[in-house]
């Protein structure tokens, strides 16, 4: 059992002028193994901070995250990460990027090569192994990033707006890919996004976060991800149920944004 447990996580940043910013306040939740969670919220609500802490890049100022039986204290291969821009190593080829993690572990070379082939096929990049990554399109780069993360067999996959920089068509294809991987591998996946539609499609569970201080505002349990694995994305998006939840969340976020603006104007 490697559930992700957040126990009253607090994060307070000190600004250079001495002020305090409460980025996260008393965030507590439990993410069961194999769940697909999407996190949504207006900008500045602490989504990325949350992800960075889970990944182990930052330490919370209060509380802790637990993955399985231990506390998270730093970056580790058990938690894979996919970044918005891919963050590929452009001096390496596609295959070298994908096997980066295994090379760092000094894994068996034959085994590594086999796994790379396997994963390139899963993400739809067979035959691109020797291509330099800077020659790939944005969507292909993101596929490489996915494969690079998954080849390490992490317990938890963290995605920081992974499809944010892609065009609509590529984005839809990638969304299917993410769902396919989720279903086939049974990994726990946590996706941060600023697209409401994407959050609904790629979230078995959905957290809406509120800003100042960053906190969990509302949680949804959604059927769309499960449907999307086999069904047609377009049909799901056009369904009345989808539209209703989307409008509800959009209104919620708009209200938050307006509240922020109001606060800013009052100050």
């Amino acid at each position: 059992m490697s559930d992700l447990i957040a126990d009253k996580v607090n994060m307070v940043f000190t600004t250079p002028t001495g002020g305090k910013v409460h980025a996260l306040k008393d965030v507590s939740f439990t993410l069961k193994e194999g769940e697909l969670l999407s996190v949504l919220g207006p900008s500045g609500c602490g989504k990325t901070t949350l992800l960075n802490i889970i990944a182990g890049f930052n330490r919370p100022t209060g509380g802790a995250f637990y993955l399985g039986d231990h506390e998270i204290s730093g970056p580790d291969t058990e938690r894979g990460m996919v970044f918005q821009q891919g963050a590929l190593f452009e001096w390496l080829t596609v295959a070298e990027n994908v096997n980066f993690g295994l090379r760092m572990k000094k894994a068996n070379k034959k085994e590594t090569a086999r796994k790379v082939e396997e994963w390139l096929e899963i993400v739809g990049l067979q035959g691109f192994g020797d291509t330099p990554t800077y020659q790939l399109s944005g969507g292909m780069q993101q596929r490489v990033a996915l494969a690079r993360c998954l080849i390490n067999d992490p317990d938890l996959i963290l995605m920081d707006e992974p499809l944010g920089a892609l065009d609509a068509l590529t984005r839809e294809k990638m969304q299917s890919l993410v769902l396919k991987i989720w279903k086939e591998t049974g990994k726990t996946i946590m996706i941060i996004t600023h697209s409401v539609e994407e959050a609904l499609l790629l979230g078995e569970r959905l957290f809406v976060m509120a800003p100042r201080p960053g906190r969990l505002h509302k949680e949804y349990r959604l059927p769309f991800a499960e449907k999307g694995v086999d069904g047609d994305m377009r049909d799901i998006k056009n369904s009345a149920e989808f539209a209703q939840v989307r409008e509800e969340i959009l209104t919620m976020i708009w209200d938050m944004e307006e509240e922020i603006m109001g606060k800013a104007e009052a100050a």
Partner: protein, 630 residues
Amino acid sequence: MIIGILFIALLAAVIWSIFHGRKVLRTEKSDAVFGNPERALGGWHWVVAGVSSVMVLWLYFSWDAGRSYFPQAANEMCQVAKLNRSANPIRAAFPLDNRQLRGTQLLQRDGLQIALMNQRLAAAELLSEADRTELQAIINDMESAMNAQASPEFIDPTIEGQLNGIADRINQLSDKMADDAYPGPADPAQMEKALAQPGWGETNVEIPPLAETERGRKFDAASLEMEAIAKDFGKIRNNTGAIKAKLDALKERYEGFAIEGGADAAVVAERKALIRQIDKIYKRIDDGKIFPPSITQQVEDALITLDDTQKSQQGTLRIIDALAMPGGTIIAGNSACSEQGSGRWLPKPSDTWKTLTRLADPDIGFKDAPLLWYKMTPLAGIADYFVPDWVADLIPGEYPRHDDNGQIQMNLKGEVYNIATGNYPSPMIPVPMGHVWDSLLRVLAGLFFGILFGVPLGLAMGLSRFFKGFFDPLIELYRPIPPLAWAPLILTIFGIQDDGKIFLLFMVAFAIMVISARTGATGTHLSKIHAAHSLGASKGQIIRRVILPNSLPEILTGIRIAIGVCWGTLVAAEMLAGTTGIGFVENVARKQSDYEIIWTTIIIMGLLGLLFDVLMRWVINKTIPWRGKG
């Protein structure tokens, strides 16, 4: 001849490429607005135009083209220059090349001296009234003697006759020069000798001095006659007859002036000083170089006639001088003629090429070393260079000693020492050597150590607050100091051999490499480091696999800059001190005013710089093709 054809070909290339460029411009005139960078692409015909223009200018202003078209011209102009040179002593006395008559100048100068004497005398209060009256009278006599020289009234008729004789002889020379038969048939032996001379610029004697052509012989003969005339003119002094009487009286009077006698030392000293001054001016007047202008007019006229004749006799030579030898002419010295002007300091491309091939010849080289060659060196010697001797000291035990029979039992320590000192038979391998190689080696060695130490420190400074804080002030303190300001200190400490220069270049390269590696390291995207972390990379792996490759563009740019700066510093350092190297060659050539070698070294340095840069561009394209695309 090759140069002549080349010159025309280059001129044609310039004209062709200009027309071609204009044609391309017309046919491709598609953008209506100015500023499209695409327009700067291509255009190799402008490369042709640029390079050809430079070559044309070089060939023209170095007189290489002129020499190619008129190989005889320099020899003839040398004869003309000889005539000018021999006529110069007479011409200098007349306002031909100068603004004033020599006599006018002398009158002015000595008149000023006399006026100063008058002032001094008026202020000499130490002297008695009698002394002052007498001295004043002497000065007045002197002035009147000097002025008498300028007056036709006092001139000695012999002098007048001599001057007229000079004028006649010059006029006769003019007539002879106008005659085509002058100076008569050539002496075959003389002619053979003249024709056997090496050509223009073929040896260190720039221009063959003996007349090779009819026209040349005419000027050569005239120069000999003129030399005799000038000599005789120099002997004529306007100090005879009535002038002599005046001068003698003057001399007697001031020599008779009582310096000693009935006065204290200060007065005696004052009198002495005044008389000495009078004596000086007297001697100049006694030189007799002031003549009445009306008397010397004939000589002046004769000189003008001669000048006109010799100019008309030069004919086409004057046009060649003006057009083919721009910015100067040929002048005659004591024993040889030489180029004067741009032809002198701008070496001819063909001579420069010859010098380059001469220096490149390993048997000749420069100062006991070739430019770039190889020598067979035992492999052991190279090991000796790299393996320090103290390695053997680290081996436990004693060095072998001889026993009572004089036998030496080798042991491991001894063997290692032999290897460290290169004391064993080994095959010979060719090793590059020479001035260019020495310079190259110094630059590469300095660069190597600069990269070896600079890159790790730069990366560390980009990643660690401690390293940045600790080393930043140190590096920023020494970096802004011009490398050459360090040179005297470093060369004094390390000596003028390679170590000092390599250390100096190391200092230069080190600072540049530290800064570029640091910029590269701090420029790494955090997401890449995060990604590497969550892929399980350790700190060391992140530095080696992520930060180092990510900094490569900056590091390689740093190397490219460092090579350029090191090269510049090295050449200057070699000029300061050293016995080999391309900068040393140039410095020696400078001391010998050998323009060809100076230009040769400049060209070699330019080519090497170009080579380095092309090499670095190639390396950059090969190693960091992702630059600007990540």
